[in-house]
């Protein structure tokens, strides 16, 4: 308001009229005058998609607005700022006062007034006050007294695709954990269009146990192939054993992103074949402070261990944005062996064993591993004589496969066990040279 007054006064000064007129334009542009408009969270249409879970004396409803629903709700394009609101309602039917933790949903969550403050510039003083009040009033309270219900919004970091998160609720010497997967409207994860039930005929399945799994893996071909089934598409270097839910939860706990069939970045991966078909699912994990991206191509195998499925995986490094030299190399327009050897010498994608070690540790630290072991079965290639995939990636490896039994529920770090110990001593995860 002060600004607008000074701008108007400036108009009446007799000299430097044109300069001042320019100043007025600048000031008026800089003067935010908008009022704040939001809607009542309780009436928002996206709440109709709410998922409900009950556990340990609590009922939790969770829903997530998409980008346009967020704009309609808050009056702000929060998705463009990397902020994704989640709406939660928690009913405490237990005998004890309880508190939920925002940390469990996103340890780097944005506080409600922080979100308002980030958007202050476009609003008048009154507009900002109204906005701050709205964010405060519609935030989720942590304390839920016995017999009561609390609801509100939590501001998390934007995640492409399905929103997976935990919610811990605790009281004196007690805690309950919920896990939600909220779909984002318009996003179809690649695995959701695969009909897993009809991938193999009933006669094709092999029933294995921990020991025969090892033998089967050692006898299996080293690698995925191209469409013809003839050319090398790189080794199968990780093997997961678990239910589809266990695999999905484990990857979400480790912050892996689901992808859709339409994602351009996965087109090369989708040209890889195992049992004659492209990957059933491709996941990404991006490095926050760099250009690196890990990619996991995953196929369900016709093998079962108890009630668990066996999943064949290729894990390796890629780039979010490709460096020019790499793009040139991948374009296939030249075949300069000296340059290629230089690229391999420093290429992160060539070092597939480091990717394998990373994913193994990531699952373990994210409380997903029941058992882990290292087996052989892929073919070793040295740094000096690397192999080359049909789609242009050089790689070297010790030829090992990491076998990881994954759990639906969180497993404490000290409850994971090691399998195939003898082989781990001789070959497991050995060095680069």
């Amino acid at each position: 308001m002060t600004c607008r007054l000074s701008c108007l006064q400036a108009l009446h000064l007799p000299t430097f009229r044109s300069f001042l007129a320019w100043l007025v334009v600048v000031f008026l542009n800089g003067c935010a005058t908008a009022a704040y408009q939001a809607t009542q969270a309780a009436d928002a249409p996206f709440l109709q998609r709410a998922q409900t879970q009950q556990q340990g004396g609590f009922t939790v409803h969770a829903a997530m607005p998409d980008s346009s629903e967020t704009l309609a709700l808050t009056g702000l394009d929060l998705y463009a700022q990397g902020i994704q609101p989640i709406w939660l309602e928690v009913k405490n039917t237990s005998q004890n006062d309880a508190r939920l933790t925002l940390w469990s949903i996103d340890r780097e969550y944005f506080s409600p007034i922080e979100v308002a403050y980030k958007n202050r510039k476009k609003f008048s003083d009154q507009g900002y006050e109204d906005m701050q009040r709205w964010f405060y009033d519609n935030s989720l309270q942590r304390m839920i007294p016995a017999g009561q219900t609390r609801s509100g919004l939590v501001y998390t970091h934007l995640r492409p695709g399905t929103k997976g998160f935990n919610l811990d609720i605790f009281s004196n010497h007690n805690a309950t954990t919920f896990t939600f997967f909220l779909p984002l409207p318009g996003f179809v994860p690649d695995f959701s269009v695969v009909d897993f039930a009809t991938l193999y005929g009933p006669d094709e399945y092999r029933e294995l146990d921990q020991s025969s799994l090892k033998t089967a893996l050692e006898d299996m071909p080293c690698c995925a192939t191209d469409e013809t089934g003839q050319l090398d598409a790189g080794p199968i270097n990780v093997v997961f054993v678990g239910t589809p839910l266990a695999v999905r939860r484990s990857l979400l706990r480790g912050n892996w992103q689901e992808t859709s069939m339409e994602n351009d970045m996965t087109s090369k991966g989708r040209s890889h074949r195992f049992h004659g078909r492209p990957p059933d699912a491709i996941f990404f994990l991006d490095r926050a402070d760099g250009n690196e991206r890990m990619q996991l191509n995953l196929w369900m195998a016709p093998w079962r261990v108890g009630r668990d499925s066996v999943w064949m995986g290729q894990v390796g490094y890629r780039y979010k944005d490709k460096p020019a030299a790499i793009a040139l190399h991948e374009s296939g327009y030249f075949d300069d062996s000296k340059l290629i050897s230089q690229i391999i010498k420093e290429s992160i994608s060539a070092d597939i064993d480091s990717a394998q070690r990373f994913i193994l540790q990531s699952f373990w630290y994210n409380h997903s591993v029941l058992k882990v072991g290292i087996v052989s079965g892929a073919v070793a290639h040295t740094q000096d004589e690397p192999a080359m995939t049909f789609d242009g990636f050089a790689y070297f490896t010790d030829g090992s496969r990491a076998v990881i039994f994954l759990s639906e529920d969180a497993v404490a770090l000290d409850d994971a066990t090691i399998m195939y110990r003898r082989d781990a001593i001789s070959s497991g995860g050995s060095g680069n040279d």
């Binding site: 933790t101 925002l102 940390w103 469990s104 340890r107 780097e108 506080s111 409600p112 007034i113 922080e114 403050y117 980030k118 009040r133 405060y136 942590r142 811990d168 605790f170 009281s171 004196n172 010497h173 007690n174 805690a175 490095r287 926050a288 402070d289 760099g290 690196e292 490094y317 230089q342 010498k345 420093e346 290429s347 992160i348 060539a350 070092d351 064993d353 480091s354 070690r357 990373f358 193994l360 540790q361 990531s362 373990w364 630290y365 290292i374 770090l413 000290d414 994971a416 090691i418 110990r421 781990a424 001593i425 497991g428 995860g429 050995s430 060095g431 680069n432 040279d433």
Partner: protein, 422 residues
């Protein structure tokens, strides 16, 4: 290679027995999975069948060893040696050291210019730990590439394989940063006659009668509320915070001021921006820490003061926490932070951060701050408004890892006095 042969090689190397000979000795050692330590500041821990030694090279030492300025790319090598005296293979997990550790090639990619065209990349790769398994009765050593921590490098070394995992915490000072933490003489802060051993009721009364808020240097103007209390040894408080991702802070000096201002303008992530002094008991904070988030404009600040109270032999600390949500400029310190006016929100965040670092044994609430409703906020020293329910959270620091389902929620309301500190 036997330990003795290895020691001879290292000795030869250390004595600089001719540069060619030294190179050869070092090369042989490295090929045997034994990379020599960067300096003699070794930190060693032994448990059951395992001995872990660690050392952290400074920026300068790192340049000498790798012929590349890794620190500049936010990469800090940590030397780790694992001696497995047992009969089972053990597995070292670099991720325990830093969840976002760099693979050797990621380190190389960030130092292309320095690594040059020839063997620069293999310099880094050869000296890194790439083997997870450590066979029985063997020793392996090498570097793990972590993100830079100036001041004290805090990290865990986790080793799994025979029964319970080995989980060791190391706190290794690295030369180059002046820190509040080391300047405070905790033992001599209060004369013996001023220390008071208190029971629960006296603890509540004592805490509620303490000042509501921090003050400026002259002790005139009131600032942010003192809304948290720790009961425990400072090393446990400090280490738990570091495990949760908090960093030590620098006191305000010229060079860090400039770094802070540049970081504020560019939105960059300068993790060690200094804090300005605030006053309680007539002195500035005894310890200050911060937890960087996405940029310097978004971080949490924590300041602590030792009180003269002792509960069951443990020291009692009072403190203040705020969440920065933006920056504005001042003449005195170039920049200052806009804090989240909902200071209670920030207080509860700290409690959660502490709980998930498995360091919270029990907690409770006392008064002492005085209620300031949303509609009638108070102002801090930089004129930012804040509102609060007027409570302080009291956190007992656990000696051993305590999961969230083991935390005791204590009700101290029978002891509340209703007092509000001055």
């Amino acid at each position: 290679m036997t330990d003795r042969a290895f020691a001879t090689l290292v000795l030869l190397f250390a004595l600089g027995a001719g540069s060619a000979g030294a190179d050869e000795a070092e090369k042989m050692a490295i090929e045997a999975g034994r990379v020599p330590p960067p300096n003699d500041r070794l930190y060693v821990q032994t448990e059951r069948n395992l001995t872990v030694s660690t050392a952290v090279p400074s920026a300068e030492e790192t340049r000498e060893i790798f012929d590349a300025d890794l620190y500049r790319s936010n990469i800090q090598p940590v030397w780790v040696q694992v001696e497995n005296r047992g009969d089972s293979t053990l597995f070292l997990t670099p991720m325990g050291l830093d969840r976002a550790y760099f693979t050797p090639r990621e380190a190389v990619q960030r130092n292309r210019t320095d690594a040059g065209e020839d063997d620069g990349s293999r310099q880094i790769e050869r000296r890194s730990i790439v083997r997870l398994p450590v066979p029985p009765h063997s020793t392996q050593s090498g570097y793990v590439f972590s993100r830079v921590d100036e001041g004290t490098k805090s990290f865990n070394v986790d080793v799994i394989g025979d029964g319970d995992p080995y989980m060791m915490s190391f706190f290794v000072p690295v030369p180059g940063l002046k820190l509040d933490h080391y300047e405070v003489d905790i033992q001599g802060m209060y004369p013996q006659s001023e220390l008071r051993d208190v029971d629960l009721a006296q603890l509540v009364a004592g805490l509620e009668s303490m000042p509501c808020c921090v003050r400026d240097e002259k002790g005139e103007d009131k600032g942010d509320p003192l809304n948290l209390v720790f009961v425990g040894q400072i090393k446990d408080v400090y280490y738990a915070l570091m495990r949760a991702g908090w960093d030590e802070t620098e006191t305000i000096y010229g060079s860090s001021l400039i770094k802070t201002a540049v970081s504020a303008i560019s939105g960059g992530r300068y993790r060690y921006s200094p804090v300005s002094p605030l006053y309680v008991f007539g002195r500035s904070q005894d310890a200050a820490m911060q937890r960087a988030r996405n940029s310097i404009n978004e971080r949490n600040h924590l300041r602590l003061w030792l009180t003269p109270l002792r509960f069951e032999g443990e020291p009692v600390w009072i403190g203040q926490i705020s969440r920065d949500i933006g920056v504005h400029f001042t003449w005195r310190t170039i920049t200052t932070h806009k804090i989240d006016p909902n200071v209670d929100e920030t207080r509860e965040f700290l409690l959660e951060d502490f709980a998930y670092s498995e360091s919270l044994e029990k907690f409770a609430y006392v008064g002492g701050v005085g209620v300031a409703p949303y509609e009638k906020p108070r102002g801090n020293l930089t004129g930012d408004p804040y509102f609060t329910d007027g409570r302080r959270v009291v956190m007992w620091v656990s000696q051993s890892p305590t999961s969230i389902r083991e935390i005791e929620v204590l009700d101290l309301s029978p002891y509340h006095t209703g007092a509000v500190g001055n």
